[in-house]
């Protein structure tokens, strides 16, 4: 008789997760991971329960359990009670707002897209890589712009920015202190069962600074993980556990955790096109499994439901994002990423970010709790308005219409004639206008004192030959 909360059945149940947990622990203890860093392996060799053969390292289960228990996840206040859009990151192809053609993003695009993201309360990492900036200053620019033009970006548990060299990490640390922002460092594993040695090098460099560190991995089913999504999820669990245990043993002064952004990520691979395929049915199903796993390990849930294989902000993009986000929302997710991305994270689209935001608002309004009471049943209203009359002019209509109905900013509810009168614009055209308006109108900037200090650090970095050389991998050494 009463309206119940929406529920979703399916995904992994607790018994199944128990089994996967056991198997993942078995893999960590008996199969191990490759850690190609002598200094880190030496540190690990001090611990009982760590077995090392050359660079292959196995951890006893109790060490893994401890690492999982020790991890804590400092959700920002805004992450606790509202729906979060975690906008996508580091793209090198961008849809020009005027021509709708793909091109390399610039520093101006980075600023505009950061402003746009902040207008939509987006969190996460910097949206694009400014390819008109020298390589050794790109990551610094991305952080600097994020601090200057955004309240949330590069400043919370949702960000996963690269810090590719120790010298770069040192500058970013200094910038974060100057701006009063959060500094973390993350290591990406290279599936199967290994680490990016540059990442280990930077981690080792930061060990005595009390820096929070996170681990991430993304095995790909049928390529860097076994063919079934379940088995690749299991591999992801194993790799995450091993990586977290490693961090917990060596980064003793900082909090270590599994990055919620890609917690237990397992990606499907399209064997026809030989490419990742986000937004597919299997990927959506994997999100349900991830949510079960994150609940099990008390890791904040972020559904990666805003990625899509679509190349444009079109029907495929909206369908994949919409369905995936709805299902994740029904399963309890309230944070969603990678807003703005297209073509399995090859492209950044400002319009897609706005569409993503609208999708989330739409779904939020589907799932919102609806009061069931006499006030809303309006028995008296029905009785009072006679045959042939209208409710349009009623006080109750006037007082309640805004509360009862969500007014979309983007999805067009006009009739055909109105749409034609307004210029018969396509969704993409209309969204572009909205993007430009939001960028123009959004005003947040970091305070002047912090901005000046960031400028000073950046100017210092520009002249730092050691920083520049640290990015020179192949320049006639």
């Amino acid at each position: 008789m009463f309206i119940k909360d929406f529920t979703l059945h399916g995904g992994l149940d607790k018994g199944q997760v128990d089994i996967m947990n056991e198997k993942a622990l078995y893999l960590v203890e008996n199969v191990g991971v490759n850690i190609p860093h002598e200094g880190i392996v030496n540190l690990l060799s001090d611990y009982e329960g760590v077995k090392i053969e050359k660079n292959m390292v196995k951890f006893r289960s109790d060490l893994v359990q401890k690492a999982l228990e020790d991890a804590h996840y400092d959700l920002p206040d805004y992450g606790k009670d509202r729906w979060i859009i975690d906008a996508g990151a580091h793209q090198t192809s961008y849809y020009d707002l005027d021509t709708h053609k793909l091109r390399a993003p610039t520093i101006k695009d980075l600023i505009d897209l950061t402003i746009l993201g902040d207008a939509l309360d987006a969190v996460g990492s910097a949206p694009v890589v400014p390819l008109d900036v020298p390589i050794h200053l790109q990551i610094l620019s991305m952080h600097k712009i994020s601090y200057e033009y955004s309240r949330f970006r590069c400043n919370d548990i949702y960000e996963h920015m690269d810090k590719p060299t120790p010298e770069c990490a040192d500058y970013l640390y200094e910038m974060a202190q100057a701006a009063g922002k959060r500094f973390t460092f993350g290591i990406w594993m290279i599936s199967p069962r290994s680490f990016d040695k540059n990442g280990l090098k930077v981690a080792y460099h930061l060990l005595d600074k009390g820096v929070p560190m996170w681990i991430s991995t993304m095995p790909v089913a049928g390529v860097s993980g076994p063919i079934t999504m379940l088995s690749t999820l299991l591999q992801s669990m194993f790799e995450h556990m091993a990586g977290l245990t490693m961090l917990n043993l060596i980064n003793t002064k900082g909090n270590n955790y599994i990055a919620p952004d890609d917690a237990f990520e397992a990606d499907p691979f399209d064997m026809k096109f030989s490419t990742f395929v986000y937004g597919s049915a299997e990927y959506t199903r994997a999100t349900l499994h991830k949510i079960s796993l994150c609940d099990y390990y008390n890791i904040p849930v972020i559904a990666k439901s805003l990625n899509t294989a679509a190349k444009e902000p079109d029907a495929q993009a909206s369908f994949e994002n919409g369905v995936h986000t709805l299902i994740a929302g029904l399963a309890g997710a309230r944070a969603f990423r990678t807003g703005g991305l297209l073509s399995c994270a090859e492209i950044y689209s400002a319009e897609m970010l706005v569409i993503n935001y609208e999708i989330i608002e739409y779904i939020k309004n589907i799932l919102k709790k609806e009061e069931f009471n006499d006030r809303r049943l309006m028995l008296d209203e029905i009785a009072e308005v006679g045959p042939g009359q209208s409710f349009i002019g009623r006080r109750s209509t006037f007082e309640n219409f805004r509360k009862e109905y969500w007014e979309p900013e983007l999805f067009n509810h006009s009739n055909l004639g109105q749409w034609q009168e307004m210029g018969s614009k396509s969704a993409w055209q209309y969204t572009t206008e909205l993007v430009k308006k939001k960028i123009k109108e959004h005003e947040y900037r970091i305070d002047d004192e912090a901005r000046k200090e960031l400028d000073r650090i950046y100017e210092k970095a520009k002249k730092d030959k050691k920083l520049e050389d640290s990015f020179k991998f192949n320049r006639g050494k």
């Binding site: 090198t92 091109r103 390819l131 590719p164 990016d196 030989s274 490419t275 991998f473 192949n474 006639g476």
Partner: protein, 207 residues
């Protein structure tokens, strides 16, 4: 003459491919003939079907595996000119980058297409690439980069190669790369997937 052999390659039947190859050798057929009209003929069909998305990656890999196994029987018997008929390709993921899924697929496809490949692996210094390409008289060098930091190192790498070796052709690949970017950095070609890399190699090697 070799109808069943291309079919076994297309089906990815390694045992059948080896067995037929041995049978043709025992029958006195020329190894070069078996290679061209048996094995490569089969892989050409596989390549074409893969290119138009009628064959899928695991099927192509099975075919390439069958080809490689059968080639093992022919290699010692082939004349030097026949063995390197397709060309020599050096493959590497650039220094600072450890991603190799795409590179490995390209390597497999090129082997299947009859090229001699030296795969230097990941995180390879440019000096090593140059040294190997010079020593092996490479026709084509294939460079892979998946990170934005390493992708930008491709341009100076290409400059260094050009200073030391001529007239080797250089092709590039990797997820963040585009044709526009490849043109800008002076590469001879860019391929968005493994099959297109094979076609590109054919064009660049001129063989």
């Amino acid at each position: 003459m070799f109808d069943e052999l291309p079919e076994s390659i297309i089906r990815g039947d390694e045992e059948e491919a080896k067995s037929l190859t041995q049978k043709y050798l025992d029958d006195g057929k020329e190894p070069g003939d078996i290679l061209q009209n048996g094995l490569i003929a089969g892989m050409d069909v596989v390549g074409q079907r893969f290119k138009i998305y009628e064959m899928y990656l695991p099927e192509v890999i099975m075919s390439a595996t069958a080809m490689k196994s059968a080639m093992g029987l022919l290699k010692p018997l082939l004349l030097k000119t026949e063995r390197s008929a397709a060309g020599m390709v050096i493959m590497a993921t650039i220094e600072g980058d450890v991603h190799d899924i795409g590179k490995n697929l390209v390597t497999m496809m090129l082997e299947g297409a009859g090229y001699d490949i030296i795969d230097l692996g990941v995180d390879v210094q440019i000096e090593k690439i140059i040294e190997t390409a010079e020593k092996e008289k490479a026709d084509v060098i294939g460079l892979s980069a998946l990170l934005t930091t390493t992708m930008l190192a491709l341009e100076p790498s290409i400059e260094m190669i050009r200073k030391k070796i001529s007239p080797v052709k250089i092709m590039v690949g990797g997820s963040p790369l585009t044709q526009e970017f490849a043109d800008k950095i002076g590469a001879d070609g860019f391929a968005p997937d493994a099959m297109r890399a094979v076609n590109l190699t054919r064009r660049l090697a001129g063989k």
